[in-house]
């Protein structure tokens, strides 16, 4: 079977990237529209491929298109099945909306065309990742999205902080690539094939230890890409990129690649309870750590970054323990509401001339009502208030952990839901409620380094806009509000829901043992905890008294922030000490001491000895012709004498 549409989905963004890159100076402002058009066509192609992606042919689900062999005996192809279909829909659909938004957001930037070239390239890379039918293709996509992310984080490359953030993200992502490579080597050494079909068919022949190793190394890749503890430290820094980049790459799509990987490799995880425990635990820890750190941030984008990390922790926890449907469902809803939250924050940042510190906001509900509505629905969705989308998917994950026999993770999930509700409402209340604090002296708000936190350092976009966002930025946000509110209904109805039927073949529900707490009870418990979290946030930030002395309260909170929180649990410092400093020390020692002094020293010593020998031998070289002649004669005489004597002896 041939599926030309699959090729169209995959290659249209690449064409857009190449055109924008090479024709950028000619296209100027049209580059944005070109990129949007390419991605829009790709989205249409995805929608048109829906039927082939869900079909059943010869016992296999989905559409498979061989492209040819890459290395001898190694075929490369595209595979569109329900799982990759869901991802492709988000990548092209949400990606299209964010591209549209970027046309407004990046308007007037010096490197407008380059931005869209990178964005389209990212979409191409991400589609390579999710459409590949084998591990090598996945690894190629994995590396390329890392590259696109590097380019876009460091997009404003004249800012040292952006450059450093890009480098950090890239290197940590390469650590992940290497993890996947190791898993690939083990798989190839054991199964002699790297296509998904062959590997999953051969799972049974792997020993428990091998399988655990494969899963663990794959998870190193997933953890690096999806910002799981302890490889998460690049994600908050990655917010140095333009806000649409944060929305597309560092919220909706790329950072969920780890979730995709584990869901894709469900046959591996399902056979390894050790891997399930490992991944579920790390996912739970990340969810909790991200949420706790989210409560301690002041930068609007860093709050969202930590919330992304926390929500991906949920997804990883879900797919890790075996609740694949739930984990993927949370990815699906999260893509919408987190993209919307980021785009809404972009509206705020844009309108406030690149201010990102929430302490200097406040009272924006009146100034920016549309941004408030967008942010508000997003917050309700992420908190899991019914009927917003997050409610359905988060419940599935939390209940899934219990159903698969992990009560501790269940507890972590519920606790995290409460903390999430607290810090997201804190963000909403501090930003939009009360009085505007932009004209207050930063030091009154507890901002220690206003020159670092203020307008000058952040988002050095070319023009500052004081006006309300243009329609081109509002329309995508408006469209996103619809799925944020309604998409969860796809998952409503337990086993009979559209979602369950969609994934029935790929992730069969199997026999779920009865649990001590039923799904309905779980829902109620979570809701109660969420309401408690919201309540605390209201009490601290939204009551009349809280709003009246908001400046004083914010200052107190800033000043009394525990060091462990403001240093993000010292993960950065620990990684720096363990890996960066140690390799730098070794490199310096080798380069400054061992190389020039020991190794080369030995060589120089040998050369010096040769020179010394030469000065001794020099004495014979008088430069006088007759001396040489005399020595020759003496030598000849010695020769003759020797042979004459030797001959005489015989």
């Amino acid at each position: 079977m041939h599926y030309p549409l699959l090729l169209a989905i995959w290659l249209l963004p690449l064409a857009g990237a190449i055109l924008c890159w090479f024709l950028g100076p000619q296209l100027k402002g049209a580059a944005g529209w070109l990129a949007c058009a390419m991605l829009g066509l790709s989205f249409v192609a995805t929608m048109l491929s829906w039927s082939s992606g869900t079909q059943h042919v010869a016992g296999h689900e989905g559409a498979h298109q061989l492209l040819g062999s890459w290395l001898p005996g190694f075929d490369f192809g595209l595979l569109l099945d329900p799982l990759s279909l869901i991802w492709a829909t988000i990548i092209t659909g949400v990606g299209f909306l964010i591209h549209l938004y970027s046309v407004g957001y990046m308007h007037g930037d010096r490197a407008f065309a380059r931005f869209f070239a990178y964005m389209n390239f990212f979409v191409f890379a991400m589609l390579t990742l999710v459409l590949s039918d084998n591990f090598i293709g996945l690894l190629v996509g994995w590396g390329l999205v890392g590259l696109a992310s590097y380019f876009l984080i460091g997009f404003w490359f004249d800012r040292p902080s952006a450059v450093a953030a890009a480098r950090k993200a890239f290197v940590i992502n390469v650590v992940g690539d290497v993890g996947i490579m190791l898993a690939i080597f083990i798989l190839f050494a054991n199964l002699h094939s790297l296509s998904f079909a062959d590997v999953f068919a051969g799972v049974g022949s792997l020993s428990t230890g091998t399988l655990l190793a494969v899963c663990a190394f794959l998870f190193v890749g997933a953890a690096a890409k999806s910002a799981q503890v302890p490889l998460h430290t690049w994600l908050p820094d990655a917010m140095e990129g333009p806000t649409p980049v944060s929305a597309l790459i560092h919220a909706a799509t790329m950072v969920t690649a780890g979730v995709y990987l584990i869901a894709r490799c469900a046959p591996l995880w399902s056979h390894s309870s050790g891997a399930q425990l490992l991944v579920g635990t790390i996912g739970g820890l990340t969810a909790l750590a991200g949420a706790i750190l989210g409560t301690a941030q002041w930068d609007i984008k860093r709050i969202l970054a930590y919330s992304t990390m926390s929500q991906i922790g949920y997804m990883i926890m879900g797919v890790g323990v075996g609740a694949y449907q739930g984990g993927v469902a949370h990815f699906f809803t999260h893509a919408f509401f987190k993209a919307q939250l980021f785009l809404a924050s972009g509206l705020v940042i844009h309108a406030l001339a690149n201010e990102q510190d929430v302490r200097r906001m406040g009272g924006l509900a009146k100034k920016l009502p549309f941004a408030f509505v967008a942010m508000g629905t997003g917050v309700l969705a992420i908190c899991g208030i019914p009927p917003f989308s997050g409610f359905f998917s988060k419940d599935q994950v939390i209940y899934g952990t219990l159903a698969h026999g992990h009560p501790w993770l269940y507890a972590v999930g519920i606790l995290t839901a409460g903390i999430t509700a607290y810090y997201m409402c804190r963000l909403l209340f501090v930003t939009f409620f009360g009085e505007y604090r932009g004209d207050v002296d930063p030091s009154y708000l507890g901002i220690r380094h206003p020159e670092l936190a203020g307008t000058a350092a952040h988002e050095a976009a070319p023009s500052t806009h004081d006006h309300a966002p243009a329609w081109i930025m509002s329309v995508p946000v408006g469209i996103l509000i619809v799925p944020t509110i309604t998409i969860g209904f796809l998952m409503a109805g337990g086993d009979r829901s559209w979602w369950s039927r969609f994934f029935a073949a790929q992730f069969p529900a199997g026999h779920v043992p009865a649990t001590a707490i039923s799904e309905l009870q779980t829902t109620l418990i979570v809701l109660a905890v969420v309401v408690a979290g919201i309540g605390i946030a209201v009490w601290r930030y939204a009551t009349r008294t809280a709003q009246d002395d908001a400046v004083e309260r914010l200052r107190a909170e800033s000043v009394h922030m525990p060091a462990i929180l403001s240093n993000a649990f010292y993960f950065d410092a620990a990684l720096d000490m363990l890996f960066v400093r140690s390799s730098q020390l070794l490199g310096t020692f080798f380069g400054r001491t061992l190389d020039p002094q020991v190794i080369d020293g030995a060589v120089r010593e040998a050369a010096w000895s040769a020179g010394k020998l030469g000065t001794i031998v020099r004495w014979f070289q008088t430069g006088l012709l007759r001396t040489y002649a005399f020595l020759i004669v003496v030598g000849a005489a010695c020769f003759i004498a020797y042979y004459a004597l030797a001959g005489g002896m015989h």
């Binding site: 996509g141 390329l144 490359f157 004249d158 290197v171 390469v174 490579m181 080597f185 490199g587 080798f590």
Partner: protein
């Protein structure tokens, strides 16, 4: 006939460069480019050709026997292309001498890689020192560098010659490269291997015989160092494959542990040192130590997959190191410094320069889709398959370090705030771009479709065939 032309053309043209009676260096450059392009064409045309002329019959048989083998063809192609790029990239007042030396270097290296006779190989090996040595004498600010280069490599040339002579005495002929029926067995064989191996390890170079390399790479003018790092450093690796694996496989395997350890140390050591260098050229020099260490490990894995990967990576490393050195030359020419501490922000005003360096740098760090990735992943798959888990893990650690130092190099040059007191910048001219374009295009092509490079028959090398009927009978005396 054409094959004779291929070898003699650059040799004669190199001599002629000194004789062209013109003060206009552009004529010399045009002449050099024409010759270099002609050698590319000839190299492709003579892919399957062989020529031979008698040289010695006593004490052992040796012939001027030339012809590309399936592996050496790719290196010859790399050599001719990178020489053309280098000639195109020459600049400055002393172009004439540089172009002449480049052509002479090409001729001597063609002799090395096309030789089907060990003695001719050894002859070419020593000849290729000379152009580099004179280049160092004329261009280097440190007199020591030239002598250090010469003495190290000449010592290697000496052991190579001794080993070749011993080989000839044992086998009765040195006209053997490309044959798979000659195996040297006997008490002398380990010494023959040692002689070859020392020469190859110095040339590659491999830790701890590498200290001539950073100084040489730093002091050579960019076009010359591009060719030297791209091709001359591959002579040792090619020797291990075409001579060691083919004629001394048993002893190669017996002593493989030593070489694998040295290769793995180079791999890690080079990467760590590259991480902390401030001279852009030294970063690339030490990264070469690291990358070539990986190929040494791959060769000694005695695994078909690893060997295929080694060939791809030999070509890939040649392409990206030549491109990076040429581009660093452009940077140095514009800014009059190579220090990462002083440079920065070049990307803003030089988008083409930044884009070109970006592609080359990404290939160096093994980005999927470019040639370096194919080489790396095929090699490590192979050495993992051969059961060498620890070298594979060292290689993977080095990949992470490579990402760190390559990104540091790229960002140090191109990103960050621009340095105000640097001279006015000018983006790549079209000639400068044309010089690196073939290298970058080849990186992409090989990255997407590496199959042609993998089509050689590994059974002649990787499979440990014991006892060859023809030669071993003569050896056993």
């Amino acid at each position: 006939m054409l094959l004779w032309m291929l070898i003699l053309l650059p040799a004669i043209a190199g001599g002629l460069c000194y004789l062209i009676p013109s003060d206009d260096e552009r004529i010399v450059k045009m002449f050099g480019i024409l010759v270099a392009v002609a050698t590319i064409v000839l190299a492709v045309v003579t892919r399957n050709a062989e020529v031979s002329a008698r040289w010695l019959s006593r004490p052992f048989e040796a012939n001027f026997h030339f012809g590309a083998t399936p592996i050496s063809f790719w290196i010859v192609l790399l050599l001719t292309i990178s020489t053309a790029s280098a000639v195109l990239a020459t600049k400055g007042p002393r172009q004439r001498g540089l172009i002449a030396l480049l052509l002479l270097l090409e001729a001597s290296m063609l002799a090395v890689f096309l030789a089907r006779d060990l003695l001719v190989f050894a002859l070419g090996w020593d000849l290729m020192l000379i152009p580099v040595f004179f280049c160092l004498v004329q261009w280097s600010e440190h007199a020591q560098t030239a002598w250090r280069y010469f003495l190290y490599n000449f010592a290697g040339g000496l052991t190579l010659l001794l080993a070749t002579a011993a080989f000839g005495m044992h086998v009765g002929t040195t006209d053997v490269i490309g044959r798979s029926d000659v195996h040297v067995i006997g008490s002398w064989a380990p010494w023959i291997l040692a002689g070859f191996a020392f020469a190859f390890l110095v040339k590659t170079p491999v830790w701890p015989l590498h200290t001539w390399m950073p100084a040489t790479y730093t002091d050579l003018p960019p076009p010359m160092v591009a060719v030297v790092s791209a091709v001359q450093s591959k002579a040792g690796l090619y020797g291990f494959i075409a001579i060691g694996m083919a004629f001394l496989p048993d002893y190669m395997k017996q002593y493989a542990g030593i070489f694998i350890v040295l290769g793995a140390i180079s791999l890690l050591y080079g990467a760590l040192v590259a991480l902390m260098q401030t001279d852009a050229k030294r970063v690339v020099a030490y990264s070469s130590l690291s990358h070539l260490g990986l190929i040494v490990v791959a060769v000694f894995a005695f695994n078909a997959v690893a060997l295929q990967g080694a060939v791809v990576y030999i070509v890939a490393h040649g392409l990206f190191s030549a491109a990076i050195f040429l581009l660093l030359g452009y940077v140095e020419e514009r800014e009059a410094t190579r220090s990462l501490l002083q440079l920065g922000g070049l990307g803003a005003d030089n988008p083409r320069l930044a884009g070109a360096l970006c592609i080359a740098a990404l290939a160096a760090l093994g980005l999927p889709g470019l040639a370096g990735f194919v080489g790396e992943i095929v090699i490590v798959t192979g050495i993992f398959q051969a059961g060498m888990v620890w070298p594979a893990i060292v290689a993977l650690v080095a990949i992470v370090l490579a990402a760190a130092y390559v990104v540091r190099l790229f960002q140090g040059l191109m990103n960050g705030p621009g340095v105000p007191d640097l001279p006015v910048r000018r983006d790549l001219t079209w000639i400068e771009g044309l010089a690196v374009a073939p290298l970058l295009a080849a990186l992409v092509v090989v990255g997407i479709d590496p199959k042609p490079l993998l089509s050689f028959d590994t059974s002649a090398y990787a499979v440990s065939a014991h006892g060859a009927p023809v030669a071993s009978a003569r050896i056993s005396r």
